[in-house]
């Protein structure tokens, strides 16, 4: 390493000499490269100033005393910047360690919460769920009932990141213990509400939308626990309409009950379920309107469901400058025949 630094220092001096004589762009491009190499070799800014003083006094031995003193003064001013610069290395290392820890935890969580799209004749399903940070506080899962029905849960822990993910994992543990596949949406939410109320920190709330699709009846049964409303796309009228469903957020009151609704699904119709990470996307300082989300969905509605949700996600990822502010989950179900 020391050899590299010595070489860089010699290059610095040569480039400096050349630049003083010609003021050419090439020397400046050269010093940019040298400067990057210095940073890579942990050379601090005050050392660059020192190097500059030395190079210059070798090139121009007759430099004024004023200049010498002024450069010592500048060097002193750079020490604080050097300290800050050293902090970066520490911060980067810590960040790397934290991120790798979180990524292990996130993959544990993925295993725990993992679900796979059910394969149902005539039903096209697409789902995308992307955490704002590494761990997901959104949740969705699919259950195939013995009667051929498809259960779909979509949920959001208030908050995001590690605490939300930890909370979600606990819920999953609790949910595993009862026979969801034989229950109605209202009964499932009622049960879960009790579990959340009993087991989860009182400051943590969970919203959930639970739907059951009954292929033989072409019907959707659903109930909501304060969850962001989804949308129903009517192929015949080519219109979207909000899926209305009322119900208390999980974990607030031990004896909350939930109302169950029904909707007929015809050929070409779509059911769109989402979390508030989709609807509360921001474009700069402006919250987007729900109509914009539906417009984007419409733009890609000629695609298969999985590609549709992927394109919609990409659209909003870019709109938000590639930094999600909340976990983003979008699930689309289309009846094909």
């Amino acid at each position: 390493m020391d050899e590299v630094v010595k070489l860089d220092a010699a290059t610095y001096k040569d480039l400096l000499k050349h630049y003083i004589q010609t003021q050419d762009e090439q020397s400046l491009y050269g010093v940019e490269q040298v400067s990057k190499s210095f940073i890579k070799n942990h050379i601090l800014p005050e050392e660059i100033v020192n190097l500059h003083i030395q190079a210059l006094s070798e090139l121009y031995p007759g430099l004024s005393e004023e200049f010498q003193h002024s450069m010592d003064f500048l060097l002193e001013a750079m020490i604080s910047y050097g300290l800050a610069h050293q902090e970066i290395q520490m911060l980067r290392e810590q960040q790397l360690a934290l991120k790798s820890e979180i990524s292990v935890a996130a993959s544990m969580q993925e295993t725990l919460l993992g679900t796979s799209k059910p394969d149902v004749e005539g039903l096209d399903i697409g789902v995308v769920s992307v955490p704002a940070h590494q761990m997901n506080g959104d949740y969705h899962h699919f259950v195939k009932g013995e009667d051929g029905s498809i259960g779909i849960a979509i949920a959001d822990v208030i908050g995001k990141g590690i605490p939300a993910a930890l909370c979600m994992s606990m819920i999953k543990y609790s949910m595993d213990s009862y026979p969801e596949e034989s229950m109605t949406p209202e009964a499932i939410l009622k049960n879960l509400n009790r579990v959340v109320e009993r087991n989860v920190d009182p400051s943590m709330f969970i919203t959930m939308f639970y739907a059951q699709y009954l292929p033989e009846l072409s019907k959707l049964r659903y109930a909501s626990a304060g969850h962001e409303p989804g949308f129903y796309y009517n192929a015949e009228t080519d219109k979207f309409q909000e899926i209305e469903a009322r119900g208390l957020v999980l974990g607030v009151s031990a004896d909350a009950g939930y109302q169950q609704y029904e909707q007929d699904i015809k050929k070409g119709d779509m059911v769109i379920l989402l979390t508030d990470g989709v609807t509360e996307c921001r474009d700069g300082d402006r919250f987007i309107e729900m109509d914009e989300v539906l417009d984007v969905i419409r733009t890609y509605s000629h695609l298969p469901a999985q590609e549709m949700v992927t394109q919609v996600y990409k659209h909003f990822e870019r709109l938000q400058d590639f930094q999600l502010r909340d976990d983003f989950t979008l699930l689309i179900l289309r009846k094909e025949v």
């Binding site: 491009y29 890579k40 980067r92 400058d321 930094q323």
Partner: protein, 133 residues
């Protein structure tokens, strides 16, 4: 508004040419020494990306001069492999871990506005603007 001037990037020497043109325009429309140096550094990053990963591409400069403000717009266009995960390359430290370069987050910091579009297999377009203060 002045016409666009573009520099093709094929060999390393072209990076210097792009910096020179960018700096000349920047000086002409009134950017100070520090901002000139920042713009030149941003050009280096954009041009190196093309030189290293796309083989072919160009950087175009345009002076923006409307009622409210004056600025320099730079657009880097290449027909390279494209960027798969933009969120990832826009993360700090993704390309800088070895201190090898400022990467795209660096360009974003050096300039005032920044937008990127990329399609796998087709190429990448990066547009950035710096305003005269």
């Amino acid at each position: 508004m002045k016409p666009q001037s573009c520099v093709n990037i094929q060999k390393e020497w072209d990076i210097v040419g792009a910096r020179q043109l960018g700096r000349d325009i920047a000086k002409e429309i009134g950017f100070g020494t520090v901002d000139q140096a920042r713009i030149a550094t941003a050009i280096s990053e954009l041009a190196r990306n093309i030189y290293l990963y796309a083989e072919e591409g160009q950087i175009c400069f345009e002076v923006i001069d409307n009622m409210e403000h004056k600025g320099l717009s730079m657009t880097a266009i290449d027909s390279g492999p494209g960027i798969g995960d933009i969120s990832q390359v826009m993360q700090d430290g993704y390309s800088t871990s070895g201190g090898l370069g400022a990467g795209l987050p660096g360009v974003k910091r050096l300039m005032d506005e920044f937008d990127i579009q990329s399609e796998a297999g087709k190429g990448t377009t990066i547009k950035s603007i710096k305003w005269v203060r």
